[in-house]
């Protein structure tokens, strides 16, 4: 675990997410622990099915009806997982908010955009219709929706994908939350506007002192925005490090594989991009060894038999790999 002097804003301890399925139980998240400091931007990286989004859904109480979360999520002195619905609703949308992956379907098509924003303030802060509307328009203006006052009267289908995601960002940051959860916020957007939307999100979060957990499979996005990165595979934390450390000197073979699979401008032009052989493990039952072992180029005997312990490998660094040495 990372030791810092300040009190973390969020600490997740041994979080697990399981789904009941007709063919048995699937483990999506398996014993994940992490801390987040106020104002920090943390990236959670992993491929599809690594459980990264489910961590956010578990925190928000938005798991599918057949999903169960275990462990602890301490946020502002409360365990989010054991809060009764009403108490959770006082946290969600107020001090904890979320941006979703698909802006095309995440806004209510039957409701004016301004009303969808204003609703949050009316419910949480008891603002009058007028005051909430004015605040909504002001926020739309801050996410650079042109002509916000008249745009607020429009419906989501009259906005482009990038604009809708900016509306989502406005909605999420409206109540100045302490923590913003962003679930692949730019995956569904045009490459040309991805950076724009991300920068806007980061900039506004910085202004309000909001911490961010950014879930993504895009290491470029991580490099651009995140202070620290957690690498996830098969529902488990593989490695955690400060962003620059991770890119310069990854400890875990999986992280090295991910980095090798990333196209780089400065690298010599080779005919093919690096790949990790095999297919990603999709959450089945419990695995006894390391979930990455079947695909790992550095695998040794013990990897398939014993679960690698989480080792602190340096200042703010940890990795779960049998080949990694504990720092002295």
């Amino acid at each position: 675990m990372i030791r810092m002097t300040a009190e973390p804003l969020l600490s997740i301890r041994d979080l697990s997410v399981r789904f009941r399925l007709p063919e048995g139980e699937a483990v999506a998240v398996d014993g994940v622990s992490l801390d987040l400091m106020p104002g920090e931007v943390l990236g959670i990286v992993g491929e599809s099915g690594s459980g990264k989004s489910q961590i956010l859904y578990a925190m928000m109480g938005l798991l599918a009806s057949n999903g169960r979360a275990g462990g602890q999520v301490r946020f502002q002195g409360q365990d989010l997982l054991s809060l009764p619905p009403r108490a959770l609703d006082r946290v969600r949308g107020q001090s904890l908010s979320m941006i979703f992956q698909d802006p095309m379907t995440s806004l209510n098509p039957f409701m004016r955009v301004g009303d969808q924003l204003a609703e949050t303030l009316r419910v949480h802060q008891g603002l009058s219709r007028d005051a909430a509307w004015k605040a909504a328009v002001a926020m739309l203006d801050r996410v650079r929706i042109p002509d916000a006052a008249s745009r607020a009267r429009r419906y989501p289908h009259e906005f482009s994908g990038g604009m809708r995601q900016r509306v989502m960002i406005a909605m999420a940051l409206l109540a100045k939350p302490r923590l913003l959860l962003a679930d692949e916020p730019t995956t569904a957007l045009d490459v040309t506007i991805q950076a724009q939307v991300l920068d806007l999100m980061a900039e506004l979060a910085r202004e309000t002192g909001t911490s961010i957990i950014l879930v993504t499979h895009d290491l470029g996005v991580v490099a651009r925005l995140c202070d620290r990165v957690v690498v996830l595979y098969g529902g488990r934390v593989m490695e955690e490090a400060r962003t620059e450390t991770l890119f310069d000197n990854a400890a875990h073979p999986y992280t090295r594989g991910l980095l090798a699979a990333m196209p780089r401008l400065e690298a010599p032009l080779t005919p093919r991009l690096g790949t990790i052989p095999g297919t990603p493990r999709s959450g089945g039952g419990d695995v006894s060894g390391c979930p990455f072992a079947p695909r790992c180029p550095d695998r040794i005997d013990i990897c398939t038999k014993a679960r690698p312990p989480m080792r602190i490998t340096g200042e703010g660094r940890r990795a779960a790999c049998h080949l990694v040495e504990e720092a002295q």
């Binding site: 928000m60 109480g61 938005l62 619905p85 009403r86 959770l88 609703d89 006082r90 946290v91 969600r92 949308g93 107020q94 908010s97 979320m98 979703f100 698909d102 379907t105 995440s106 806004l107 209510n108 098509p109 039957f110 409701m111 609703e119 949050t120 419910v123 949480h124 419906y155 289908h157 989502m168 909605m171």
Partner: protein, 307 residues
Amino acid sequence: MIRFVVKRLWNGALTLAALVTLTFFVMRLAPGGPFSKNRKLSPEVIANIEATYHLDEPLWMQFGRFVWGLLRLDLGPSTRFRDYSVGDIIASGLPYSLTIGFWAVIVATTVGIALGVAGALRRNGFTDYAAGTIGVIGIAIPIFVIGPVMQAVFALKLSWVPVGGWNDGWRSLILPVIVLSLPNIAYISRLTRTSMIETMRENYVRTARAKGIGEWRTIWRHTLKGTLLPVIAYLGPATAAIITGSILIETIFALPGIGRHFVDAALNRDYPLVMGITLLYGGLLILFNIATDLVRAWLDPRLRHDG
């Protein structure tokens, strides 16, 4: 909005014209005529009758005559009920069918939607199973079984309501309205339940939950419209069908509505009456479809701009 309505009305008129033309010729293609089932008549008498009703003219002339009458709102005399015009027959039966149909639609809509919503909110709970049972019963057991059973229990055994007829004011309405609405309650409640469960899985409902606005507000403000859209699409045409009467209901409860004419007129080859009833039902169907589109556009802004 006005352009949208005018355009739809114009399209509706064209549809109705096509429907009427088709019905006119198909009806005459069928073997036999309005008087072929009467006892043997002498050729002179037949010629006389045919001349009276213009059945001796070529088809295109008959059609022209019919269209000319239609433009003057005159559908001509019934060939079966000789002393009555088609207009008289429809005018005498329609109020009964409309009254029963109106209440049946009201009951079916409110009860159906309420049961569907309750079932979707407490999935697999008691209400859901109760609503599901009513649904299966309402769809599976035909009216001609439910009707007499209810008459036997509530009219004959318990004497709460009259067996049939139209002489006891609102009490005469109770059984026919219940029996007529039952299959629709069943269908609407199933439709509402499915639609609501689907809507609750929408991403935007998840967004509403994430806003922490509370379960009740999430359902009321963010799920209801999406739930009702398919229900309203069903209600439009169903209303046209229900208020134009049902031969089964009218036969079982001895009511003087127009439902029975739907079947009788065709069997008797009562050409003018068939045309009149086709016009009535077709016209209502088109009107209710337009009304449905308007309500849907009012609910869903995405439907507003494509006229």
